[in-house]
Each structure stands twice: as structure tokens, then as C-alpha cells.
């Protein structure tokens, strides 16, 4: 049995999304900037896709910019808000310790350009408080950027409360909703969201397609890619029509089936959490309540994540880990460290991220194979040996 449990990394394209894309390759293949028939057929589909995103995000189609993915949308949002701030002499930005690198690395770039960045601490729950944001806002704050839901531990942030605080303080608010879009209800108006990034491949759309929403009249977009006048001149390059059409079809499908998918997936998630936390010296990272329907993130003491992933893969289970070995750096995941986990525990993390395509049988398979793999690796581990001998203290 092969079980794909890495849906936070990316998802399979849905039948609906694929069916919407296929005619764009050989029937409606025109350039939307062309005046002839086939070009205008493509332009029509581009416009419909924009309307779809606008409808489900509760905004105006003119507020939607298509990008090459979540990373580009994040970069453009931050650079644009920073440019506006700079013009107003405001160079302070508020974010969190556990943002995606698309945010954190852009913030590092801004730091080098003289911006001051406050990264809020992450409580053990994995959910920051709106009060933390409120306390950090200063007269020179030009941007608050807080992710909607965390990509590693799945915890959902109090976005409407943060949005309200930012609106009252007159500070632009951006949220990286890459993990939330298509999985949680989003209403940019009701939630006071000024800017939002999403990415199609996290909800059964194609890779390489993102959306940046920016409320009209708030932050003027600064180009990341210069060139032609596509996307109102704010994002050059012939539009990826198949991708954008596939993204819209996937988003519509995800939003229309959101409640039923969430119910099914969170039931599978809760079963995994209940069973896997029975493994001694394991812990669920981040609280269970305010959590993406598909996210399970655990640490197992005494083992290292990469070897766990390889053995799981051998048993047909495809998952991910925040260990240093899988990140290609010396440090384990910055998200787990931000939660206050010691390095050696963070190395032993496992993320299982589910979607509505997963079945009960697949969950049972994971529950059947994982405890044996953990015992096997612990048996081989000098760290576990020390924990068992009392030469090292259990942390979890």
C-alpha cells in the first residue's frame, strides 16, 4: 500500500482541475493580450478565473494578481508594503518566528535595507495572540505579516482579531494563507485582511500558480518582475493560462466542498493523533484544537527524522520531517525550535499531512507500521540508550 501523507508539501491535481486545464493547451492556447479570437478566448478564461478567486475570497476581481506561486506573492506583498512604508518614513515590520522562508528571507533582505523587524515569539500552543501583535505595533510600523496557518504544525492564527487591530491602528496587514486557502473559510473583508497570498498546488491545483490579493487603494504594488503590461502592469510575463484556469477550478472545488472535506479529514487526523501519541515519549507539536484539518506533527524522543522517513517510505508511507538532515542545514526546523523544543527533540519530528483523498485504511496502515519503526530506531540509538539508563533526561 502507498499512502501519500505529505499534502502540506504539495497535493495531487484534482480531476476537475486537470479537466479545466487541458483545453487551454491546444484549444484556448492564445495569448490573452492578442486581439484575435483565440487570444480573446484565453483572455475570457483568465477573466473568469480571476472572478472565481474574487468570489471565494470575497473581494473584487481587480484586487487579484496572479503570480508564479506562494513565494512570489509573499515577496511582492512584503516588498510593496515596505516601499510604501519607506515613502512615509515608517520602517518597522511585525511578523512571527515561524513564518515560511518566503517571508523570513524577504524580511532579512529588508533588514539589510534598514528596516527593523519584530518577530513575535510562538507560545507552546503554536498560536500567537492578537494582544502580542497589538503590543508590538509602533507609530513607525508599516506592515504586519502573520501566516494564516503554519505549514509545519498546522496551527491556525487569530487572523480576524489581528486584522481588526491592524485596521484600528491603520497598519497594512498581510497574511500568508498558502496552507489555509481551500481548507479554511477566508473572507478578506470580514477578516480585515489587506493583503493575502495563496498557492494553487496546496489545494489540488497545479504547481507554479499563486494569487496575491491586495485591497484596492491600500498598498500600491511594486513589481518583482518587470516587462509587459500583464496584471495591470504589476506582474509582467504572458499569463500561465492553463495553470491559472486549473488553479481557479481547484479553488472553486475546494471551497464548495470545504465543510465536508474538513469533517472527513479532521476525523482521520484525530484518529492518527490519538493512536500515535500512545507511543511512549511522543508529543503533538502545537495544540489540537486550532489546527488545519489535515495536519499531524509529532516528535519522538531518541530518534532522528530522516531515518524515520526513509523507513516509512519503505513501508509505503510518504511523509516529511523537520530534522536538519531533511532541511539540508545543520539546524532542525525553525518552527519547532520557535516552539521551544530542544534541538535533539526537534530532530525527531514527523509531519503527516492528509487530504480528502486519504482513506481510513491508509490511516490504519500508518498506525500499524509507525510504532515498530520507532522501536527499531530507538533500539539502535545511543541517545535512547542514555534516556533509558537515566544518563540523559526525558524532555517529553
Amino acid at each position: 500500500m502507498r499512502v501519500y501523507a505529505d499534502n502540506a508539501a504539495t497535493t495531487a491535481v484534482s480531476e476537475t482541475s486537470l479537466a479545466a486545464m487541458l483545453p487551454c493547451f491546444r484549444e484556448y492556447y492564445g495569448n490573452p493580450s492578442s486581439l484575435h479570437t483565440v487570444g480573446q478566448e484565453a483572455a475570457e478564461r483568465l477573466s473568469l478565473a480571476r472572478q472565481t478567486f474574487a468570489r471565494y475570497l470575497h473581494c473584487n476581481p481587480a484586487e487579484i494578481t496572479f503570480t508564479s506561486g506562494g513565494s512570489e506573492a509573499d515577496n511582492q506583498a512584503l516588498l510593496s508594503a515596505a516601499a510604501l512604508g519607506e515613502r512615509k518614513g515608517k520602517k518597522h515590520i511585525i511578523s512571527t518566528q515561524f513564518e515560511h522562508h518566503a517571508i523570513l528571507h524577504t524580511l532579512n533582505k529588508l533588514r539589510k535595507n534598514g528596516f527593523e523587524v519584530t518577530l513575535l515569539d510562538i507560545p507552546k500552543s503554536g498560536v500567537i495572540t492578537a494582544q502580542q501583535v497589538k503590543d508590538a505595533i509602533r507609530p513607525d510600523t508599516c506592515l504586519v505579516t502573520i501566516m494564516f496557518a503554519n505549514n509545519e504544525i498546522g496551527t491556525i492564527q487569530p487572523i480576524p482579531e489581528i486584522g481588526k487591530i491592524c485596521r484600528e491602528a491603520g497598519v497594512p496587514f498581510h497574511t500568508d494563507a498558502v496552507q489555509a486557502a481551500g481548507h479554511l473559510p477566508i473572507d478578506v473583508q470580514a477578516m480585515d485582511i489587506g493583503m493575502l497570498s495563496l498557492s494553487a498546488h496546496k489545494f489540488h491545483g497545479p504547481k507554479g500558480v499563486g494569487v496575491l490579493y491586495v485591497r484596492k487603494g491600500s498598498v500600491p504594488l511594486v513589481n518583482v518582475i518587470e516587462g509587459g503590461a500583464q496584471e495591470r502592469g504589476k506582474r509582467a510575463g504572458t499569463e500561465n493560462i492553463p495553470g491559472i484556469v486549473g488553479a481557479a477550478a481547484a479553488f472553486k472545488e475546494a471551497c464548495e466542498h470545504m465543510a465536508e472535506n474538513a469533517e472527513k479529514v479532521s476525523r482521520l487526523r484525530d484518529k492518527l493523533i490519538a493512536e500515535l501519541t500512545k507511543i511512549p515519549h511522543s508529543i503533538l507539536n502545537g495544540e489540537q484544537e486550532r489546527r488545519l484539518p489535515g495536519n499531524v506533527n509529532l516528535c519522538f524522543e531518541g530518534i532522528e527524522g530522516e531515518s524515520l522517513l526513509l523507513l516509512l517510505d519503505q513501508q509505503g508511507v510518504e511523509a516529511s520531517s523537520g530534522s536538519a538532515c531533511t532541511s539540508g542545514s545543520l539546524d532542525p526546523s525553525h518552527v519547532l525550535l520557535a516552539l521551544g523544543l530542544p534541538h535533539e527533540v526537534a530532530h525527531g519530528s514527523l509531519r503527516l499531512s492528509l487530504c480528502e483523498y486519504n482513506t481510513e485504511e491508509e490511516i490504519d496502515h500508518i498506525i500499524a507500521v509507525l510504532p515498530g519503526i520507532i522501536s527499531y530506531l530507538r533500539e539502535m540509538s545511543p541517545v535512547w540508550d542514555e534516556l533509558e539508563n537515566g544518563q540523559r533526561e526525558h524532555v517529553i
Partner: protein, 145 residues
């Protein structure tokens, strides 16, 4: 694939894995903070100065386990002098290569062997040179930075 077939074989079927209660020398290198610890046990024939048995315990990624396993195979039954000349490069070659960011695992394996021999020498009052001063438990050091 990230790893060669040899690496996967030694990871999935590690040779000489386990503890040794009556070891003549035990060496431990690495640091849990960095995500790799190797502990190597050796049994030595005092007359011939030969390593008659080896066992290892490793906390770490696939290549850490595979390099430990390969290193034990390469020194088992060998004179100590030969075991001490085992280079990390030889371990990497025997495994048909490692990804660049995993080379530090082979360095750890080489050092685990040296640490076990050093422990044996210490316990038996045998003198040795400073080439046996091993890992300073600094992550960047092991990663070859």
C-alpha cells in the same frame, strides 16, 4: 534517489548493530544537538592487536547509519593499525558515494573508530599520538565548515 543502492542496503540492513557489554574500547562522537551521534564498541585481541568484533549504535539520518555500518565492516577482523588508517573517503567510496551535505557522516564514522581505539589505549595504558584526539563536539566542525 538521494542515496546509492549501497547506502540504502547498509541503512536498511545495518551490519554489526547493537551494544557490546564486554567491549575493550567504546568511542562516542557527534552531538545530539546536531542530529548525529555514533557510538562504536570494539573487542580487541591483546596479543595480536586485532579488532575481533565491532558493534555500533547510531542516532542520525540514513547516511549516518549506513556509514556506521560500513565502517564496522571495514575494520572488523583488522589489525588496529589498519583500522586507524581508515579514512572517511574510503568509507564514502565503499558506499558508492554520499550526497555532498552528508559527507560529515563519514567523518563521524572515521572518528568513531578512532575514539573507540583511543578508549582501548587509555584503558590499557598504551600511549598514542595526537592524531587520536577526535571530535570536539562542535557541529560546524563535523559538517566540515
Amino acid at each position: 534517489m538521494l542515496y546509492s543502492e549501497k547506502v540504502m542496503d547498509h541503512f536498511q540492513n545495518p551490519r554489526n548493530v547493537g551494544k557490546m557489554d564486554d567491549a575493550d574500547g567504546v568511542g562516542e562522537v557527534g552531538n545530539a544537538k546536531c542530529g548525529d551521534i555514533m557510538r562504536m564498541y570494539i573487542k580487541v585481541d591483546h596479543d595480536t592487536q586485532t579488532i575481533t568484533d565491532v558493534k555500533f549504535n547510531t542516532f542520525g539520518c540514513g547516511s549516518a547509519i549506513a556509514t556506521s555500518s560500513m565502517a564496522t565492516e571495514m575494520i572488523k577482523g583488522k589489525p588496529i593499525s589498519e583500522a586507524l588508517s581508515l579514512s572517511n573517503q574510503a568509507v564514502v567510496e565503499a558506499l558508492d558515494g554520499l550526497p555532498a551535505h552528508k559527507i560529515h557522516c563519514s567523518v563521524l564514522a572515521e572518528q568513531a573508530v578512532k575514539a573507540a581505539v583511543k578508549d582501548y589505549y587509555d584503558k590499557n595504558n598504551i600511549s598514542y599520538g595526537k592524531e587520536l584526539q577526535v571530535c570536539d563536539h562542535d557541529c560546524a566542525h563535523c559538517a566540515g565548515e
